[in-house]
């Protein structure tokens, strides 16, 4: 009895914490106003940490490394740990290399729905074109210029088959976190540290 009480209160507390950022502090924001807030980030690099919670695993996989962004469509993600990996996106093409395993792979962004969803939202925001998000997502937003949250639900069937939702939080034109809920039940959250403008 005592145990279940603890459990229930635990759930309530965590729910409150989870929604506090949404319901507690941020007020609904019309997506039409986003372009005033998200005006485009300069070329920059930043550190990131990422957590993947996979149904297969009892504990999350944690990644860290650096990101690099150059307008309009260059994006690099260099993972340092736990396994070194370089992901370079140039235009529509993605190159993934694993230096330790000496393998290199190249593919079109559109062939990997998960990556496509993440990259599309990332680029639209960094380039200061939040209006483009509506091309493939249903967009909801909360907050203001100091702190905003966006919830993106895929519109197209192909994307919706793999992605349940994406949530992005940020301040002015910077992104702080990206979360992705997969239809499979897997989840990831990437947190971006302070950006260094180039």
């Amino acid at each position: 009895m005592k145990n279940s009480l603890v459990a229930i209160s635990g759930i309530i507390i965590s729910l409150v914490i989870a929604f506090s950022s949404l319901a507690g502090e941020q007020k609904p924001l019309s997506p039409d106003r986003l372009p005033e807030i998200i005006t485009g980030a300069p070329d920059h690099h930043a550190e990131f940490s990422e957590e993947r919670r996979l149904l297969l695993l009892t504990e999350p996989v944690r990644l860290r490394g650096t990101l690099l962004f150059r307008k309009p469509d260059r994006f690099e993600k260099h993972t340092i740990s736990p396994q070194q990996e370089d992901l370079v996106v140039d235009g529509d093409w993605v190159t993934v290399s694993l230096p330790d395993r000496n393998t290199e792979m190249r593919f079109n962004m559109a062939d990997d729905p998960l990556l496509y969803g993440l990259l599309f939202s990332l680029r639209s925001i960094m380039n200061g074109e939040p209006g483009r998000l509506a091309e493939i997502f249903e967009v909801e937003a909360w907050g203001d210029g100091n702190a905003w949250t966006m919830r993106l639900k895929p519109d197209g069937q192909e994307l919706a088959q793999r992605i349940q939702a994406i949530r992005v939080t940020g301040e002015t034109h910077w992104i702080r976190t990206i979360e992705l809920w997969e239809t499979s039940g897997d989840y990831l959250i990437m947190t971006i540290g302070s950006e260094v403008t180039e």
């Binding site: 996979l54 297969l56 736990p82 190249r106 990556l115």
Partner: protein, 766 residues
């Protein structure tokens, strides 16, 4: 309107109607199958199969050249995507992305029954599973591991990857920036397979044009070149080059006939009339071959078109012999016996080929024989109707008289020619004959080189050695291949072979599959082992329930049979390696990296596994080409003999026959000697050309011996005939198609020598 003009229009109308009908019925083929004998031995069947492999027919091998490395990679990516977007191809690969072959899903479903063999102590052991999980764990954090995430719950031991690895070629293409490149890194490589409905030449040609256009329209394609090989590239390039050569030849022939018709005979109308008997001959030949064989081989047409050489002589003779009064009908009547004997002899020369066991030779024989009969008949009966009179003649009498006096002085040097020729032949005897199959192919040599380069870049070099395994059923063959496996492993350990590929590596025999089933752990046992392997990792204990279910399913399933696999999506993966044959099944074991082929052959023979045989494809090809050449030489001798008999029955004097055939023999041997002297390997096309030369030479000789008394007239006629023939074939000798080059050179040189020799040994006038 003159009556002959009306007649001409009628004839033209009839000819074009018949031509239209013939053209609409024609079925052309352009592969190498024409050299294969009717009765194919089991060994040569592998060759015919390989040469007419349907799947290979639609495969475009492409390379992007020029620019810098990054530019080529970018283009390769864009281009592949554009190709895939057309929907005309069922597979486009350039090394980018993760491409599992069609039918892989079926293999994955049956992954524990089929694929490379596994060691029962390892595959399902706790240790192996724990190791695999550790490897997977590291990959899960990567973007590259996203695909793995999907398959992992069902396949924690990576069995799917093991099967994929067994499918990919032993030598992987080199890769730059995730895109396939040639060994030297200077070409980006792309393979595309057309959908089956695009296999015919017309569609392939259209597709090739679309592909090129698509490439040129890609942004950034400037300064880059797209090279296309593979069967579609071959077929189209060959056709285009033949068309170009034919166009050049047509223009030259047109100018030549124009010169003759207008400048020589002052009758522009002759421009059409001179070619008429030849045109009728070609139509008749095509119709005959199509009717008898049901298709016309490209080579038959190329060679048969050489009818030009003989057929145009008929109207020329009729014209030139009309010199006394300009009446062509009268001259046609006068020279008919000679014309007829010449034609009958030529037909007789090609007749033996019709009886040969090689459909290619038989087609050429039938084509030429029918064509000649039709041409000589139209020369005799139709031509005078259309061109009743002639008033002017080319070549002045003075010039001809001079040549006539010069001719006999050439006797001695001409007699020396065969001696020199035989010496040259003897000197180079070892290398005189062409035994390379490629030399018979109409494909231009630079295309062959490109194809070989691209193939080796893609890790699919030409395979030379293999083991044929036969059996009454597919199961039989698979069992025998499994018996062979320890032997192959031993040969591998002894460094006598580097790798092999066979059907049994992908699809084990039913017996082997049942053995595997017997060695799979029970559901309970596997669950326990898996629990041990998962313990201590970050994986959840119930993460791999699908794996447990799949293994249990495999343990109790009915074994996969050849029929099941061949009829599904995965059919393309197995049928090239194992296929039904009359009276059973045959599988092939491709061997690569042989140290000592003889040792391997001996080992295979020693093992004496029933139905297995070591095959050296290069030897087989050479043997086949050699036997084709041998039989054509034999038929050449046969036709020379027939010719003597026909001539004797016409001339009734041994001396007269000798006077006609002597110069021909000189011309033929001298031409052979010249080819040998120039280091040109003599192929079956040279031999066939020599028969044409013999036919032409006999015509010259016959006219000299029967009409020599008519003075300048015969000289003019034969010189005109030969000038026309030699010029056209001389132009052909510059063709980039090896076959046309060979025919052109041989006939140009041979026919000219035949003329000179016939003139030199002609009966003195008066």
């Amino acid at each position: 309107m003159k009556p002959e003009v009306g007649r001409f229009l009628v004839v033209l109308a009839i000819a074009s109607v018949i031509g239209g009908i013939v053209a609409s019925k024609l079925d052309f083929r352009a592969d190498l199958s024409f050299i294969f004998p009717d009765e194919v031995s089991e060994r040569t069947r592998f060759l015919t199969d390989r040469l007419s492999d349907r799947a290979a027919q639609g495969t475009f091998l492409m390379a992007i050249e020029g620019g810098d490395e990054a530019g080529r990679q970018e283009l390769s990516l864009r281009f592949s995507r554009a190709l895939a977007g057309t929907g005309s191809f069922d597979r486009v690969a350039n090394g980018a992305g993760v491409v599992a072959p069609d039918g892989f899903e079926y293999l994955f479903e049956n992954r524990y029954l089929i694929g490379p063999s596994w060691n029962p102590d390892e595959e399902f052991s706790t240790t192996f599973m724990a190791e695999s999980l550790q490897g997977s764990m590291a990959l899960l954090s990567t973007s590259a591991g996203q695909l793995l995430r999907r398959y992992l719950p069902a396949d924690p031991t990576g069995r799917g990857r093991a099967i994929l690895a067994a499918l990919s070629p032993a030598a992987r293409p080199a890769s730059q920036g995730g895109v396939w490149v040639s060994r030297d890194g200077r070409r980006a490589l792309i393979v595309a397979r057309a959908r089956a409905e695009n296999f015919d030449l017309v569609r392939q040609s259209a597709l090739l044009g679309e592909v090129r256009q698509m490439f040129e329209q890609l942004p950034g394609s400037d300064g880059h070149e797209l090279l296309i090989a593979g069967p579609p590239g071959f077929a189209v390039a060959t056709r285009d080059r033949i068309q170009m050569d034919v166009r050049i030849l047509s223009v030259v022939s047109f100018l030549l006939i124009l010169l003759l018709a207008w400048g020589g005979f002052r009758r522009p109308m002759l421009l059409f009339l001179l070619g008429l008997p030849m045109g009728i001959g070609v139509l008749a030949g095509l119709a005959a071959v199509q009717t008898v064989f049901g298709f016309v081989h490209g080579i038959t047409l190329a060679f048969g078109a050489c009818l030009v050489g003989i057929a145009i002589d008929y109207p020329l003779h009729v014209l030139a012999h009309a010199a006394p009064d300009g009446d062509t009908a009268k001259s046609a009547r006068a020279i008919w016996p000679t014309l007829r004997l010449g034609a009958v002899t030529s037909v007789a020369a090609f007749l033996p080929f019709m009886l040969s066991g090689f459909p290619g030779l038989a087609q050429i024989g039938l084509f030429v024989a029918t064509g000649l009969v039709a041409a000589v008949l139209s020369g005799r009966f139709l031509f005078p109707l259309l061109c009743p009179t002639v008033t002017h003649f080319p070549l002045s009498d003075r010039l001809i008289e001079r040549l006539r006096r010069l001719a006999p002085r050439l006797r001695l040097p001409l007699l020396m020619l065969p001696v020199a020729a035989l010496a040259a032949l003897g000197f180079r005897w070892e290398t005189v004959w062409e035994s390379d199959l490629r030399a018979l192919s109409p494909v231009p040599p630079d295309m062959v080189a490109l194809d070989r380069d691209l193939r080796s870049g893609l890790g699919a070099p030409d395979v030379r050695y293999m083991i044929a395994v036969r059996g009454d059923s597919a199961e039989d063959v698979l069992v025998r291949q499994e018996e062979l496996r320890p032997l192959l492993s031993r040969l591998g350990e002894e460094k006598n072979i580097v790798s092999w590929r066979m059907a049994a590596d992908l699809l084990p025999s039913a017996a082997e599959q049942r053995r595997r089933q017997g060695e799979m752990p029970t559901s309970e046992e596997l669950r326990n082992r898996l629990a041990d392997a998962v313990a201590g990792t970050a994986f959840r204990s119930d993460a791999f329930n699908r794996f447990l279910a799949d293994v249990e399913g495999a343990r109790t399933a009915t074994p996969v049979t050849f029929e099941m696999m061949a009829s599904g999506d995965s059919g393309d993966l197995i049928t090239p390696w194992l296929s039904p044959r009359p009276g059973g099944f045959t599988g092939i074991v491709m061997l690569s990296g042989l140290g000592e082929p003889q040792a391997v052959a001996a080992t295979i023979a020693q093992a004496a596994i029933p139905g297995t045989e070591f095959v050296d494809l290069k030897n087989e090809t050479e043997r086949l080409v050699q036997s084709f050449l041998d039989s054509s030489v034999l038929w050449l001798l046969g036709s020379l003999l027939v010719v003597q008999l026909v001539l004797y029955s016409g001339l009734r004097h041994v001396a007269a026959v000798l006077r006609v055939t002597g110069p021909v023999l000189i011309a033929v041997t001298a031409t052979l000697g010249l080819l040998a002297g120039l280091g040109i390997p003599i192929s079956v096309f040279h031999i066939l050309s020599l028969i044409l030369v013999a036919g032409l030479g006999m015509d010259y000789g016959l006219f000299f011996s029967r009409h020599g008394g008519e003075g300048a007239i015969t000289y003019r006629a034969t010189i005109l005939c030969n000038l026309t023939t030699a010029t056209v074939f001389f132009v052909m000798a510059f063709s980039s198609i090896p076959i046309l080059h060979g025919i052109g050179l041989t006939v140009a040189v041979g026919s000219f020598l035949a003329l000179v020799a016939s003139a030199a040994f002609a009966r003195p006038v008066g």
